[in-house]
Symmetry: C2
Subunit: 324 residues, 2 copies
């Protein structure tokens, strides 16, 4: 029921996942709306009478709306009826539902959001935390490094991914107080023997092949994510208007536009199907509020792989391997 284009696009994407990917889905939401969905193999329905809207206070909404689609969805995962939850709704309420109903993994101080940043011509970069925790401590960043490492290993089959901490210079002496302290902890092996820490990385490395996992606090991470979103949009918009503004180049532009489609797809956030909330005891995929059917299809695929690859177990193991 959540998202700017819900329920129609969300339901369409979920049904497509069942049909095309063979991943069974459970649609959680309004009885009347869901009764209009044509019955099909692999699609079940769980009725929830309430909806948490985009502008509601997450903590309060989750406490009060016990029969909301988000709360019921998280409960379905906890109870074993579903293996994972996917939502394009209120991000804070999605996190709160997952946290309160599934619970934290043992030893995890704070769950964090890992977002996948496309890198043209290379494997994507995992950015963690991209918005769950605005004020962080150094030990929290160490756990983000561990969880991001586990995701990069699982989702992109990157062997021995490079984990860096986002700062404003490569030297260990560069950064704010939080970064310097986290750097020292990671350098000393606080993230455990498996996590390869490569030191500080900079903003320009996020969309490059120099690092696989970029660790930062949720404030900076969210700013980075949205800055890239805006920057890519501005440049792509500039390219399109340069190619279509002048009648002299319009014809030639028609010939090159198909060549740019691959790039546009690569840069489209929908291709990666959403961020993942790591550190909770279950799989929770958070899709962009503007998700259409294709984004939801990909989010279901991401959730499916996380379950099949036992991502939660991997996170539990890497957290246990760290030194507190």
């Amino acid at each position: 029921m959540g998202g700017d284009r819900a329920p129609a696009e969300v339901v369409a994407g979920a049904c497509q996942a069942a049909r095309e990917l063979g991943i069974p889905v459970l649609l959680v939401g309004d009885a009347v709306y869901l009764s209009t969905v044509a019955p099909q193999a692999g699609v079940e329905i769980l009725v929830a009478s309430e909806v948490i809207h985009m502008d509601e206070d997450p903590g309060r909404a989750v406490r009060v709306k016990r029969d909301s689609s988000l709360v019921r969805c998280a409960e379905a995962v906890r109870g074993g009826r579903a293996c994972a939850m996917v939502s394009a709704g209120n991000t804070g309420a999605t996190m709160a539902s997952a946290l309160l109903r599934m619970g934290r993994l043992p030893g995890v101080s704070r769950p964090a959001i890992a977002t996948v940043i496309p890198v043209p011509g290379s494997t994507p970069t995992v950015l963690i935390d991209s918005g769950a925790n605005v004020d962080c401590t150094a030990p929290m960043l160490v756990q983000f490094a561990q969880m991001g490492w586990a995701l990069a290993t699982e989702r992109f089959a990157i062997r021995d991914p490079r984990v860096g901490i986002l700062s404003i210079g490569e030297e260990a002496s560069k950064g704010n107080a939080l970064v310097k302290e986290a750097h020292a902890l990671l350098e000393a092996g606080a993230a455990g023997p498996d996590v390869r820490f490569i030191g500080n990385v900079e903003g320009r490395d996020v969309m490059s092949d120099r690092v696989d996992v970029v660790v930062t606090d949720g404030f900076t991470g969210n700013v980075v994510l949205k800055t890239l979103e805006g920057g890519v949009k501005a440049v792509v918009g500039g390219v399109l208007s340069a190619l279509t503004g002048d009648t002299a180049v319009k014809e030639a532009a028609q010939a090159v536009l198909p060549a740019l489609t691959g790039l546009a797809n690569e840069l489209d956030p929908d291709t990666y199907g959403g961020a993942v909330l790591l550190g909770v005891d279950g799989v929770c995929v958070i899709s962009h509020g503007s998700s259409g059917a294709r984004a939801i299809l990909n989010a279901v695929r991401v959730a499916h792989h996380a379950v099949a690859d036992k991502l939660v177990g991997r996170i539990e193991a890497v957290i246990a391997s760290g030194r507190p």
Copy 2:
């Protein structure tokens, strides 16, 4: 003497400024090298025997190397021999030289770096602080808002520029502790009657026409700046490889590339000629370390306008109008 391509490119750009823009320049640096520069109208020389290198500790270098080009340059401004300084060298040492030799403006707590972000199809956005102060307090952000406002007014002749604080959501309740406190101060008019505060803005607004001055701490600002640099580079690289990779589109691509040149120029940091250190008692322009002659030419132009438009006096006035 500073910058990856100094002294040749820096000197070339400065001489070009004297020749093409009619702005007299004073070259500060090594006697032997500068003796090879062909004498020309509007170009004078001030010899300095030392150089502060890119990797030196800024504070220490400025204290110890009293006959360095950076220190002598700042002294030339303080003593009235020059109206402004321009450097592509060690950023920290440039700031330290300016701060120690020119001094702070009355009432300014911390000078900050204002960087100009190009926005395709619109006036640029001023980002302040983009790297001078990694750990900030809320009253510091209020002064950054005042100084950025003065720059947007002076440099881009924007009447009543919109000043926003960088956060992770538009509502006043969104952000980390620093942002919430600064938001409350700005909302209460701490920046004085002239500064129009429009509230929180997000990363995606930086490269858009929704805001003119984006206020943030120097850590986040530097990350944003470099993230955009990397993101724009990745997208532009992706476009170019899409247009040149396939022989079938190569010919058509040749026809459209000129149309993209205008955009590439607009996005090129060299076009804006560097950042400005605001809050010191003099004009100090900080160019990118990789500056070529064109970037230096534009930096000299920026310095010239700042002097002609009395930017320093404007900043002093807006700081005085604030409520501490």
